[in-house]
């Protein structure tokens, strides 16, 4: 008896280890698509025509969905997901705010509609591992994703067939194109990270080379923690942006040029080895100087907390522009303690970095129609975009939505109080200004992927600034 009891007890506990706790969230909908071949190279560019018989079930649905209006998609979503559970995963936490609005929208079509949802936001690049692991199931957990870092998306998610691009009909029309013609990923928005500096001292930064000048140690989110930050550096080596750096260099006084000249000279052979264009040496020199002097931060929040404090005299950093909106004024903290470098009169060179949040349907999505409808809702309606649109520094990829958002939110006069501009740094000059006069470097996923192991490895060889 005792041995049976002992054996049972131990067995129970051993089994209990595996049995207790919650079950893995499982899709409630009927299986929609077979598992994606995770370890084989799948069709590359999303808009490349693929033979009908080679399409997965989700891709077939996407193909059909791309011909439908938002309302038609909404009806399909209601049919598919009423009473079910929707799992989304994204780099932005605001998918969680957008989903209730989407459900409310569906309820305007069918008041009896309801859907439970969960939105997950992994950190430390874990989203790619999570989506890869989920892609191994016949029917995945996640219906869709909102994801950043075009480089990794291209090489790990799209080329492997884990994610599928869906281009909403209304979005394509607003952009003067069609789903078939459009090549690339579907962006929800472009976000900008801009150079800002604390202005409580006398120092000014009127040229992007000032950020890498002798003795400077800017605040920058560690490029190993946030790969998007590394993509910024990759993009600088692209011909256009390398040209911008050269222009800015040429605008420097001779004595300042003299400091940078040896580094630029030394980079010429490196640029040639890496197959970069004629101005590549300027890009490499700027990157080298930055990597060797920046002070790594865990996120842009700490950057912002530091820079807006009056004691951070003469410090500067690159930070997500929208962070300024959450600064609460106090005795020592104020938005007026910082200047946006690109807004400074006579500023020369790059003003910051623009990168996208992309939307995808998972290839084994349990709710593909609902995923498509949700994506269309976020990219084609002001309400759908409102979770992000309420912040400055984030611009919808749909020009109509961008315009409507600006008309409602007035980000361009976001620093005004009672008709007077009180917080100059909060007057967001808008996407068009940033991508022209503001010289925002824009992420190109394909370019990033193409130099990830050339320029990327070269960057990793650099000796990062070590405080100790």
């Amino acid at each position: 008896m005792k041995r049976i009891v002992a054996m049972l007890l131990v067995l129970c506990m051993a089994l209990g280890l595996a049995a207790c706790g919650q079950k893995a969230p499982e899709a409630t909908a009927a299986p929609a698509a077979p598992a994606a071949p995770a370890d084989t190279a799948a069709p590359a560019a999303p808009a490349e025509p693929v033979a009908e018989e080679n399409l997965t079930e989700t891709q077939k649905i996407i193909k059909e969905a791309q011909t439908m209006t938002l309302e038609e998609l909404a009806k399909k979503a209601i049919e598919e997901s009423n009473g079910k559970m929707f799992y989304g995963v994204g780099n932005s936490s605001r998918g969680k705010s957008a989903l209730p609005l989407f459900i409310a929208y569906l309820q305007t079509i069918d008041p009896s509609y309801n859907m439970e949802f969960e939105w997950q936001q992994p950190k430390n690049n874990k989203i790619f591992d999570q989506l890869t692991a989920d892609s191994l199931k016949d029917t995945g957990t996640f219906a869709m994703t909102l994801i950043q870092d075009g480089n990794q998306i291209e090489s790990k998610m799209v080329q492997t067939g884990i994610l599928d691009t869906f281009i909403p009909k209304d979005w394509a029309e607003a952009n003067g194109t069609t789903a078939e013609e459009y090549k690339g990923f579907l962006a929800l928005q472009t976000l900008n990270k801009v150079f800002m500096y604390n202005n409580t001292g006398s120092k000014t930064y009127d040229n992007c080379w000032d950020f890498v000048a002798e003795g400077e140690h800017g605040l920058y989110m560690d490029i190993d923690s946030e790969i998007v930050g590394k993509n910024f550096l990759y993009m600088l080596t692209e011909d256009t942006y390398a040209g911008w750096l050269k222009e800015a260099y040429n605008a420097l006084p001779a004595e300042e040029q003299a400091y940078f000249q040896p580094t630029i000279k030394a980079m010429e052979s490196e640029a040639a080895d890496l197959g970069l264009g004629p101005d590549g040496a300027y890009a490499l020199a700027w990157i080298k100087l930055l990597v060797e002097i920046y002070k790594a931060q865990t996120d842009y929040g700490p950057n912002c907390n530091t820079l807006v404090d009056k004691s951070a005299t003469d410090q500067f950093g690159l930070l997500v522009y929208s962070k300024l909106r959450s600064v609460e004024e106090s005795n020592s903290v104020s938005v007026n303690n910082v200047n946006v470098a690109a807004y400074t009169d006579g500023y020369q060179g790059i003003g910051g970095y623009g990168y996208c949040h992309y939307l995808f349907v998972t290839d084994n999505s349990p709710l593909p129609w609902t995923a498509c409808a949700f994506i269309a809702y976020m990219t084609c309606t002001e309400d759908g975009f409102s979770a992000w649109g309420k912040d400055m520094g984030g611009y919808s990829s749909n020009p109509k939505v961008a315009e409507a958002t600006e008309n409602t939110r007035h980000h361009q006069t976001g620093g005004y109080v009672d008709g007077v501009s009180v917080y100059e740094a909060k007057n967001d000059r808008g996407y068009d200004w940033w991508t022209t006069d503001g010289k925002l470097v824009l992420e190109d996923p394909e370019y990033c992927a193409s130099v990830a192991f050339t320029v990327g490895s070269w960057i990793e060889m650099l000796t990062k600034y070590s405080a100790g």
């Binding site: 008896m1 131990v10 280890l17 893995a24 430390n124 692991a133 199931k137 909106r325 005795n331």
Partner: protein
């Protein structure tokens, strides 16, 4: 007259009888089953991570170097050890990891050991207060001390940030070596593990027989000689254990070096994981090798160690060193001040942080303007960003925080119950069979996960459970499995130590009376060693509450409190992270007090009771 001779028993019958006899002893059954379970739970993740080092991962360096998107290759090993980046990716982090672990051991043993000596072996004043307060840094997540360190020592002139508290209030600007990288990492981790050393070394000091010291005193031996020739050799086993345990834990710690900007194997694992996935797995294996090496060293030290009987029946009296009338107060005062900074100051700092209007804005301290304080971080009930809430509700209304809190409690309770129960049974079974090789094997396998760096264990289990058949990422099941395996040693060691102290006669008497095993356990053995066994439940519970390195690869933020706390800290939302810290500390203190009141067991009495 016919006589019938019994036929000789066949080999089969003998075998069957032997088997029957073997299984008639519950501890044999436990050992057999646990041996199998531990082998699987330890070996399977190691095999999974080894496989990962050989696998080609799309979009990473191995795919780039081989030109393939699937299959197996040795290129990860070749690249990691021989490429131009070997120094950056491997050797420097490895060196830093070892320096960090060594420094942590030195700080924790010196600080913890001295305090343990003063509390247990002297007549120092306020011993109870110091003993209770000293374990606080171990209760708090370790990186919160790193954040406090930064808030204290940062300065515009040196670190190029906004001024920290010392610079803002007193104009004190410490050098960079003091503010960032190796030295503060060693200091912070050392302070975090000092209570651990205090618990282990203090346990020996508390139970040590004073006869030897008394004899030496009678023989007029100088005090320094008594200390170096008698006292220290007697606590050497505890110091060795502490070194091994702290070294193993410090090696795999991620958050402290991450926050203080030190490149170690664990921070490198995380940063390399996206682009150098297979090579990152090799780093995890290197960390594991250190774990195995530590276990072997532990075994070696156990076999070569001189045998000291620290608990005897001859004298239970401990003679306390007299520090003198004023000395006992002066030393106590110094300790009160010293323990204030790692133990109480963070709590005060956390509390203050939840009332300042902007993260890190302590301006009310030097302006005296109390209107610069706010309760918004606690009471805001709407999702707004305009008042600097970054789109979050106040702590009291924040579903993310409370959902994570419930998740943490659930995981911690399950881990504590499972690890505590399994560990207790293992300790019991090993003590009953201590000369058996299998028992030693089971004991070692149970202990191995503890010596393996948390991050490496987490990484291995992530790979093991992210497959087509078994996909447990972001589930409580996975966290409970991993937590249980990792924390069994707390209970098994605690149980083994106490069971070894228990005379076999007690249970034998019950066996003669034909008392069933269950009854013997529940009515005799467990009640006698109640205090140690409860420690075996309490330590996994408390450690699990604030565990990050082990769980960070296994779930998303918002799932449990530590990942949520880390998320807020990384984002610079210190009010939320401070609030979570307060919630954690209060939870642990309440639980500890409750357990203490009900059972008499307490954290500061620690492993082995």
């Amino acid at each position: 007259m016919k006589t019938t001779a019994n036929p000789p028993a066949s080999r089969l019958t003998i075998g069957l009888n032997k088997t029957k006899t073997f299984f008639s002893k519950p501890y044999n059954v436990i050992l057999l089953l646990m041996g199998i379970v531990f082998t699987v739970t330890t070996v399977a993740p190691i095999l999974a991570i080894i496989q990962d080092t050989l696998k080609i991962h799309p979009g990473t360096i191995d795919a780039h170097l081989t030109g393939q998107v699937s299959g197996y290759t040795l290129v990860n090993y070749i690249d990691l050890f021989t490429s131009r980046m070997a120094k950056t990716n491997l050797w420097t982090p490895l060196l830093n990891t070892l320096l960090l672990a060594v420094g942590t051991c030195i700080v924790s043993i010196l600080f913890g050991g001295i305090v343990a000596f003063l509390v247990t072996r002297t007549n120092m004043a306020w011993r109870k207060y110091i003993s209770s307060i000293f374990i606080f840094p171990y209760i708090m997540p370790q990186w919160t001390l790193a954040v406090v360190w930064q808030n204290l020592f940062n300065s515009n002139a040196v670190t190029g940030t906004s001024n920290g508290l010392l610079a803002a209030l007193f104009g004190i600007e410490r050098t960079m070596i003091w503010c960032k990288s190796l030295v503060p990492s060693q200091g912070v981790q050392g302070l975090h593990y000092a209570p651990f050393a205090y618990i282990l070394i203090g346990g020996i000091f508390r139970n040590m027989d004073a006869n030897l010291e008394e004899a030496a005193t009678i023989l007029d031996t100088p005090k320094w000689k008594i200390m170096t020739r008698i006292t220290l050799p007697m606590v050497k086993p505890a110091i060795l254990s502490t070194i091994l345990l702290v070294f193993g834990s410090a090696m795999g710690s991620y958050p402290v070096p991450h926050y203080l900007g030190l490149s170690t194997l664990s921070t490198k694992y995380v940063s390399m994981n996206s682009k150098y996935t297979g090579e990152a797995s090799i780093l995890a294996i290197i960390m594991m090798i250190f774990g195995v090496a530590i276990m072997m060293l532990n075994q070696l030290s156990l076999t070569s160690r001189k045998n000291y009987t620290t608990v005897t029946g001859k004298s239970g009296q401990i003679s306390k060193i007299n520090l003198g009338k004023s000395g006992k107060y002066i030393i106590a005062l110094i300790l009160v001040i010293l323990t204030f900074f790692p133990s109480l100051f963070p709590i005060v700092s956390f509390a203050v942080e939840t009332f300042v209007p902007h993260p890190g804005d302590d301006s009310f301290l030097y302006t005296g303007d109390t209107s610069n304080l706010t309760t918004k971080w606690w009471v805001t009930s709407e999702n707004v960003t305009e008042n600097g809430m970054y789109g979050q509700k106040g702590i009291l209304h924040n579903e993310t925080i409370w959902h994570a809190f419930r998740g943490t409690i659930y995981v911690s309770v399950c881990c504590a119950l499972l690890a505590g129960t399994i560990g207790t049974l293992v300790g019991y079974a090993v003590s009953k069979n201590r000369r058996s090789k299998w028992a030693n094997y089971v004991n070692s396998m149970a202990f191995l996960p503890y010596l393996m760096p948390s991050l490496a264990v987490g990484a291995a289990f992530f790979i093991l459970f992210s497959t087509e058949k078994l996909n447990l990422f972001n589930t409580y099941t996975l966290l409970i499995i991993v937590g249980t395996i990792k924390y069994i040693p707390f209970a098994s060691r605690s149980s083994l130590n106490s069971m070894l102290q228990l005379s076999g006669e007690i249970e034998e008497a019950a066996i003669i009376q034909d008392i069933p095993w269950i009854k013997r356990m529940t009515r005799i053995i467990i009640p006698i060693q109640k205090s140690s066994i409860i420690s075996g439940y309490l330590l996994p519970f408390m450690t699990c509450l604030r565990e990050l390195s082990l769980f960070m690869l296994l779930c998303v933020q918002g799932f449990i409190l530590s990942t949520t706390l880390d998320y807020f800290d990384e984002m610079g939302l210190y009010a939320f992270s401070s609030g979570i810290n307060l919630i954690l500390i209060i939870t642990i203190l309440v639980c500890n007090t409750l357990v203490n009141k009900v059972t008499g067991a307490s954290l500061d009495k620690g492993i082995g009771g």
